[in-house]
């Protein structure tokens, strides 16, 4: 309602009131002082009329108010109320004012309802987003920890619960130093929160020890989350790099070993050649010895290089496998012939017990030959001078299998190493000094026999007595 309207109504009321009082006063005066009784009667009558008019007006107003009250109670909008007011002279201003108020009230209510609806939608969206985020976090295989500005755990996934050994349900909203029993991890989270960096990030490597003993190494990415300028907490994602580190370490070891292994025969070759050049080999016998050494070491170097290249190529899938029926006995014989000089050098006796050549297996000739050669080479390496190596192959017609065994009287393999002998780079520590090796030979054998030819590798060994390495392949018609 405008101010002028308010002023107007007020003035009207005042004027009206004043007029009424004057009329009453005049009527009263008339009754008291009128000369004739008729005038006194008129005065009394007008007074009575005035009283009745006043009562009627009040009654009408009371009725109108009653109406308003009833309407308000029944309806939801105020607009209807304004329309119920009786229309008469004094009331247009009043009803207009009430109508204005009721319109404003209606608009306010409508706006409030709209706002409430908007908030409801926003809440639904926020909830859906939160559930979505939670679903994402739970499905991540890396461990995820989310903390709030008070270092309390607000979100974590199954992987985190497993890594730090806590109960997901119980840990919710618990202080991080009560949930995690890893002081370094707790420190990292605290430091990140205190760093006050806006959307900062830090990557750290850390080993988390497990109750069961041992531990796993993680690459931890910590991010601080801010809500505007205020820190909202920390998100930590732990990626398990234990295996990667192991493999990387193995690769480094491998490279060092390869370097050493390649250098050794090369060193011999160079030394002997230099001796020959300098005329240090003064007689024919010595010269011949030198030439033989150079030849053997060259061959050794060649085999080593082949081995390394083979492994790399085969494992990376570059080599084309060509399978054809092959006679196992023929391949064995060839390999035995090649390894003979080495065996002779150590006075090792080579014995064979081979099946008839017509027994064949479907195989890639080069690969199978390589596998056999590796086994024979190992046998010679780990058998001391004067020992025996037996190459035995037998056929099981009913099972349609051909089983080959290379049995030596060598140093044997300790029981604790036995499960791992076919692992890449694995070398039994006890035998480290007996012979040099890359730890690759057997891994290649296993790959060739099992992965490429779907066969089976076998090993039996007794320390001090010897070992028996074997493989089983399917016979082909």
């Amino acid at each position: 309602m405008q101010r002028s309207q308010t002023f107007y109504i007020f003035t009207l009321l005042l004027a009206g009131g004043g007029a009424l009082l004057c009329a009453l006063d005049a009527a009263g005066g008339l009754i008291e002082h009128a000369p004739w009784p008729m005038l006194r009667l008129v005065g009394a009558l007008s007074l009575a009329c005035g009283a009745i008019a006043g009562v009627a007006t009040l009654e009408s107003l009371r009725h109108a108010c009653r109406n308003i009250i009833d309407r308000t109670r029944k309806s939801n909008t105020f607009t209807a109320i304004g329309e119920q007011l009786p229309k008469s002279f004094a009331f247009p201003w009043l009803s207009g004012a009430i109508r204005e108020i009721s319109d404003a009230a209606d608009r306010a209510v409508a706006e409030a309802k709209l706002r409430a609806k908007e908030l409801e939608i926003q809440l639904k969206v926020a909830t859906a987003e939160r559930q979505h985020a939670e679903a994402i976090i739970y499905s991540i295989s890396d461990a995820v920890l989310v903390t709030d500005p008070f270092d309390e755990l607000v979100l974590a996934n199954e992987s985190a619960a497993k890594t730090f050994e806590f109960d997901l349900v119980k840990a919710a909203h618990s202080p991080v130093d009560q949930v995690l029993h890893d002081p370094r991890m707790i420190d990292l989270i605290r430091e990140m929160r205190q760093s006050h960096s806006r959307n900062g990030r830090r990557i750290v490597e850390h080993e988390v020890s497990s109750g069961a003993g041992g531990g796993r190494t993680f690459k931890i990415t910590l991010s601080s989350v801010t809500d505007g300028d205020a820190p909202a907490g920390v998100v930590a994602v732990l990626h398990d790099v234990t295996r990667e580190k192991e493999v990387s370490e193995m690769k480094n070891d491998f490279v060092s070993m390869v370097r050493h292994e390649l250098r050794t025969p090369l060193a011999s070759i160079r030394a002997y050649i230099e001796m020959l050049i300098d005329g240090e080999a003064q007689d024919g016998k010595t010269q011949r010895e030198f030439y033989e050494v150079i030849q053997n070491e060259s061959n050794r170097l060649g085999r080593l290089i082949d081995n390394i290249l083979n492994i790399s190529r085969i494992e990376s899938g570059l080599v084309r496998v060509v399978k054809q029926p092959q006679s196992v006995a023929v391949i064995l014989k060839e390999a035995i012939e090649v390894i003979s000089p080495q065996a002779t050098q150590k006075q090792i006796k080579l014995e064979e017990n081979l099946p008839p050549v017509f027994y064949q297996t479907l195989a890639d000739r080069d690969m199978l030959y390589q596998a056999v050669l590796n086994l024979l080479s190992n046998a010679v390496k780990y058998t001391p001078n004067g020992g025996t190596i037996t190459v035995q192959s037998s056929v099981d017609e009913s099972q349609k299998k051909i089983l080959t065994r290379i049995i030596d009287t060598g140093v044997g393999i300790p029981p604790k190493d036995l499960p791992f002998v076919f692992d890449k780079f694995y070398r039994a520590q006890a035998n480290n000094r007996v012979a040099s090796g890359t730890g690759l030979g057997l891994s290649l054998v296993k790959h060739i026999i099992e992965t490429v030819h779907h066969g089976r590798v076998l090993v039996e060994s007794h320390v001090g007595k010897g070992s028996s390495f074997g493989f089983e392949l399917d016979l082909c018609e």
Binding site: R263, A267, S268, R270, A271, Y272, E274, M275, E280
Partner: protein, 127 residues
């Protein structure tokens, strides 16, 4: 230099190294005694009292370093030349204290070895 009176002990588990080095030194006029492992070398060092020790670092039973340490403990101050795989470095404290005067990395040239041997013997003769 008159090499005829000098005895050199050569210790290495690799037979090729052993034969190359002993032949080279014998041809140069030295008396050479060989050992295939650290323990054998230790025993020979005590019994033969060589003027120089040439030893590999990696050996069964006793490493080259342990050999030198033990000899020192036995009051045997024979100068030693250590043969090592390339890239392997001993601490200076390990070498000086134990009489290791020189390190030669493999693969080595027999010529270079002979020159080094002659140098070391001259120096220790002068000392």
């Amino acid at each position: 230099m008159n090499a005829g009176e000098k005895t050199i002990l050569v210790a290495d588990d690799e037979s090729h190294i052993l034969s190359v080095v002993s032949l080279k030194l014998r041809n140069a006029g030295f008396r050479v005694v060989t050992a295939h492992d650290g323990q054998e070398a230790f025993d020979l060092a005590l019994s033969e009292r060589p003027d120089l020790l040439i030893t590999d670092f990696h050996m069964p039973l006793l490493s080259g370093l342990e050999l030198c340490q033990r000899l020192r403990q036995q009051n045997n101050h024979v100068p030693a030349i250590m043969l090592t795989a390339r890239g392997y470095n001993l601490e200076p404290s390990d070498t000086m204290q134990n009489g290791i005067v020189c390190m030669i990395s493999k693969p080595f040239s027999p010529r270079h070895l002979l020159e080094t041997v002659q140098e070391v013997l001259e120096r220790s003769a002068a000392a």
